[in-house]
């Protein structure tokens, strides 16, 4: 299942990473001494039940949160050394996100949603429009450019989100439970699309899921439980 051979340089590194959340009196150890390396071009799944630490790890890699201890390196940058503005710029340039709840802006059309990340990069308007259109065509939504999110189905919304993550040509796209709000058939379609983009656009994907059928599409699976890496469950996944 591990296909390191066909992948490039190390893109993500988690070195002895711990993350503790404090909720009033109690503290929750969301991650405990996690080590993980992800190489360019991987299509990596973080697997585990809810509360296993998948989302926390994705958030740390995505520079949305900071580890309590340990180091996170993204494309060779120690993200702990960046201030909030520099982190924002880093995210804008390097990282794409796909969310479980799609997180499209409801007042913007599909095309405008996809244009938004390029607005942050100060891309000129004509180029924004052109690239947004291309990205939406790439995810099969050429006919829905001017639709608002509430005029789209769940699967279509997630495709818009994928186009939005893809359009700024990031090094890596993180997807937190991208199929959890979709039916089985659509979930497989969305994952297949991500897989296609992974190979055609050479974008690294790291996504979390607890759906075994979806896991089967991953090039590598990182199993987690109680904030630690664990061996694969006994039942092997069909490839």
């Amino acid at each position: 299942m591990i296909q390191l051979g066909e992948h490039g340089a190390v893109l993500l590194q988690a070195q002895d990473v711990c993350k503790t959340y404090h909720l009033g009196e109690t503290s929750v150890q969301a991650l405990q001494h996690v080590d993980l390396e992800v190489r360019e071009g991987e299509f990596l799944a973080l697997a585990g039940s809810s509360g296993s630490g998948k989302t926390t790890l994705l958030n740390l890699f995505g520079c949305l949160d900071r580890p309590t201890s340990g180091r996170i390196l993204v494309a060779g940058t120690d993200v702990a050394k960046l201030d909030p503005d520099a982190l924002a710029e880093f995210r804008a340039a390097t990282i794409g996100f796909i969310f479980q709840t799609f997180n499209l802006f409801p007042v913007l059309s599909a095309r405008e949603n996809v244009e938004y990340p390029m607005l942050l990069n100060k891309t000129p308007a004509p180029e924004r429009e052109k690239r947004a259109k291309e990205a939406l065509e790439r995810v099969g939504l050429a006919r829905f450019l001017d639709h608002r999110p509430d005029q789209l189905s769940g699967g279509q919304r997630q495709r818009v989100a994928i186009a939005r993550a893809l359009v700024k040509r990031p090094k890596i796209i993180f997807a937190d439970e991208p199929t959890a709000n979709l039916d089985k058939k659509t979930a497989v379609e969305v994952l297949t699309l991500m897989r296609d983009l992974n190979s055609s656009e050479k974008v690294t994907f790291v996504f979390s899921t607890h759906d075994s059928m979806i896991l089967s599409l991953a090039s590598r699976i990182f199993h987690m439980s109680d904030g630690r890496q664990v061996a694969a469950p006994e039942t092997p996944h069909a490839h």
């Binding site: 958030n59 969310f99 709840t101 997180n103 802006f105 990340p117």
Partner: protein
């Protein structure tokens, strides 16, 4: 594109936006109405002060202004006719007239009352004359001959009625006692009891006859409009050299101490009312804008995940506040203007300080009032957006993202 996003977000929740627009518009409309009303009030007081009390410009000898004359003769302007004629010919001058004020004794049968006798020209100062409310007699009778208008208090002290003949006694400029018979043409109320108790008006020629002089103490100059004050002042000043020496000109605003006090009082009063209106607008929209911002915390999380800085997010929300402010402001400006025109169309009169006749209530609509009202409410709605936005954007990204459902 950011403005487009701001506009769409502003009109996302129509009911809430309608409420905000209503509040901002009410604020703008009340500011426009209030400021227009108070501007008119101040203008009325100004014009009242000029027309009924001081004229636009006064010319007198320096010694009169400084009250430094050893002998009242020194205050007189000799051979004034030529100069007065030239002043009357200045294009911005509507009328100019000589003036004398003195203390005299008015006697009727067995009663004698001391009074201040002021010149009032029946023709050139018809506005001033018309401002005196005649409680007896008619202003029209105050022409030709040795007529006098008595303040109501003076008349009652003398038990004088219209048509009575009074004996007017005074000292000439040479220090001699002189007396004249004058006929009561009317009894007036100026609006201030203090004035009515001690004042009587007589034509300049009568004063000159009694005081045995051909001179005057002052010129009272009325201009075609108050806006011409500086023009008129320059033009008249340049003529003064051709007249008797030591003449000095004073514009109305240096003379009208009462107007200055009233105006500074109203400026303060305006500021307080403005502050109250703005606070009400701010408190009103702070809550609803705060609700919108709070509901969009998840969206803020998404924006930040996509690489937007906190500063830019706050800016975006302030832009939305500005869109709301502009929209509400325009609605309010139109509503305010319409209401003002309706109020102006109704002939509604109320007593005002400085003018003893009730004045018509008018709402002035200078462009400056619109600009100021719009700018103030725009600022208020931006402040109302920046406060909750700054608070919401401080939330950790992961916590904000959890608000997306």
């Amino acid at each position: 594109m950011r403005i487009r996003i701001a506009i769409r977000n502003t009109f996302r929740n129509k009911r809430r936006t309608a409420l905000n627009v209503f509040m901002i518009a009410s604020g703008v409309a009340s500011l426009i109405l209030f400021k227009g009303f108070s501007a008119n009030l101040i203008l009325s007081i100004r014009e009242g002060t000029i027309q009924f009390q001081y004229g636009h410009l006064q010319v007198a000898r320096e010694s009169l202004w400084k009250n430094s004359a050893e002998n009242p003769n020194e205050n007189l302007i000799p051979d004034y006719q030529g100069l007065l004629k030239r002043i009357q010919d200045v294009p911005s001058v509507k009328s100019a007239t000589g003036w004398i004020g003195f203390y005299g004794l008015l006697g009727a049968k067995d009663r004698t009352v001391g009074a201040q006798l002021l010149s009032l020209d029946p023709v050139n100062e018809s506005l001033r004359l018309s401002n005196l409310v005649m409680v007896e007699g008619k202003a029209a009778n105050y022409t030709g001959g040795q007529k006098v208008l008595l303040g109501a208090g003076v008349a009652s002290a003398l038990r004088a009625k219209v048509g009575d003949n009074l004996n007017l006694l005074g000292y000439t400029y040479d220090g001699l006692v002189n007396a004249l018979d004058v006929e009561v043409a009317g009894i007036f109320k100026s609006g201030l009891k203090e004035i009515d108790n001690v004042t009587a008006m007589i034509p300049l020629e009568v004063s000159q006859k009694l005081l045995d002089t051909k001179d005057v103490e002052k010129f009272i100059i009325y201009l075609k409009s108050t806006e011409l004050t500086e023009d008129g002042r320059r033009a008249v000043s340049s003529l003064l050299d051709s007249g008797p020496r030591g003449l000095e000109i004073k514009p109305w605003y240096e003379l009208a101490a009462f107007y200055k006090e009233v105006r500074s009082f109203y400026n303060l009063y305006d500021a307080v009312i403005q502050l109250i209106i703005l606070s009400l607008v701010l408190i009103g929209i702070l809550n609803t804008i705060g609700m919108s911002v709070f509901e969009r915390t998840g969206e803020m999380g998404t924006m930040r995940a996509l690489g937007e800085t906190q500063r830019n997010i706050v800016r975006q929300f302030v832009l939305e506040g500005a869109v709301l402010g502009v929209f509400g402001g325009v609605v309010g400006a139109v509503a305010g203007a319409v209401l003002a025109l309706v109020i102006n169309a109704i002939d509604f009169r109320a007593p005002m300080p400085g003018a003893s006749l009730p004045q018509r209530i008018q709402i002035l609509l200078p462009i400056w009032n619109f600009v100021e009202a719009l700018a103030l409410t725009l600022a208020a709605s931006m402040v109302a957006a920046v406060i909750p936005a700054v608070r919401a954007v401080k939330l950790e990204i992961v916590d904000a993202l959890r608000r997306n459902i």
